[in-house]
Symmetry: C2
Subunit: 231 residues, 2 copies
């Protein structure tokens, strides 16, 4: 939708990969709609995943016993976070929609993207206590996980080898994105591209592009236990 | 138990932290039992969390399109993985029990520990397809997550703000550890040390030490959906 701002946080090492094709398709389609699209290409940026003392410039509030969460919160308030964190927070702040594009690693995001979540979504910026879930600070924004899997779709069902795919989305969609206030759109899961034909892969990219055409009219999911566990 | 080997994979930045106290208590108690205890202190090691081309020494099987999972698998078979991965795999191979000690970050492990899982537990070493879950290659070993939370225990229940703690354990215990064959022992969760008194913190360390005294007689959990979701 013209005028909307989108951030794509992208974690794949290879520009020729299927994840890159999905990211490129989103850039193309959203740009064609008149959106401003920014991409954080984490591997290309050499993004730092480790939450350390280096994330805080200047003095610590308690140098005798380093507590990352407390120090990051204080540093956020003083504008004393490391530059790479500030740059990502600025992109998030400007975005109406954040898309996470990644291959599933161990039922979760790759470590480089986990590090983006650990470091960028700090207290004070993304949430506070209180000030989380529907009161999270990013509550006027949308978020969407677009991921690829190793296994085929039937493996990610209640009866399948890996269990329902919604189970592994809980910590990411509910525990992280919803916690920060994001309205979560349904995930885009491209199953088993490595076991698919070139034609099937093209069809998965096309269906992602097609979905993006009407994405702005989608209703977010009801991000609470029944969506995940059917209870 | 005398003669047993234990690896503690530990992710906290601060030697004065409560996580350090739990790690130190485990080293002390298990050593006193006559176990050989190794610690991978990830932050102190500057452990690399990012899964990249640098993890494979020598030539790639497909340099035109880098696929991390495929290349790591091939490199494992040829003994061509990076030295830091090989060193961790050797520690895992020798261990009868692996304990993961960490503060919960976003309903999961900190990125530095996620990187340990992404890079160390590669195909060929920890599992194959087929050759996972009860046939995973680490099936004669035990694993245990010992974690600290920000929130209090009542928040991590079905009726609490954050939902049942078992929900967020699914990707870690089932999707990762059980997938590699590990028998999973019940998690050790130390709730909200930051909101606890010094006395309460000491009592949490003491109860962890106490549990370790009879750990070798514990039955692993039934690591399947009913344990997590009560279905």
């Amino acid at each position: 939708m013209a005028g909307k701002k989108v951030l794509i946080v992208y974690a794949h090492q290879e520009p020729m990969s299927f994840n890159a094709a999905l990211k490129d398709a989103a850039v193309r389609e959203l740009s064609a709609q008149g959106c401003a699209v920014a991409v954080s290409d984490l591997y290309a940026m050499g993004f730092e995943p480790r939450a350390t003392r280096s994330d805080i410039t200047g003095t610590l509030s308690n140098p005798d016993s380093f507590n990352y969460g407390v120090e990051a919160h204080e540093a956020f308030k003083k504008g004393a976070l490391a530059g790479d964190i500030l740059a990502e927070q600025k992109k998030v702040q400007e975005a109406d929609l954040v898309i996470f594009q990644f291959p599933l690693y161990w039922f979760s995001v790759p470590a480089i993207m986990k590090g983006w979540m650990d470091r960028v979504l700090c207290q004070g910026f993304a949430f506070d206590i209180p000030g989380f879930y529907d009161s999270g600070f990013l509550k006027r924004k949308l978020a969407l996980l677009s991921l690829t899997t190793g296994g085929v779709a039937s493996s990610y069902t209640k009866a399948g080898d890996y269990g329902d795919f919604r189970y592994f989305l809980w910590p990411l969609q509910h525990g992280t994105l919803h916690f920060c206030g994001f309205k979560v759109l349904a995930p885009q899961i491209s199953f088993a591209p490595e076991y698919s034909s070139e034609e099937e892969r093209k069809s998965m990219v096309a269906s992602w592009t097609q979905r993006l055409k009407s994405l702005w009219t989608e209703e977010p999911i009801q991000c609470s236990p029944p969506w995940y566990f059917g209870q």
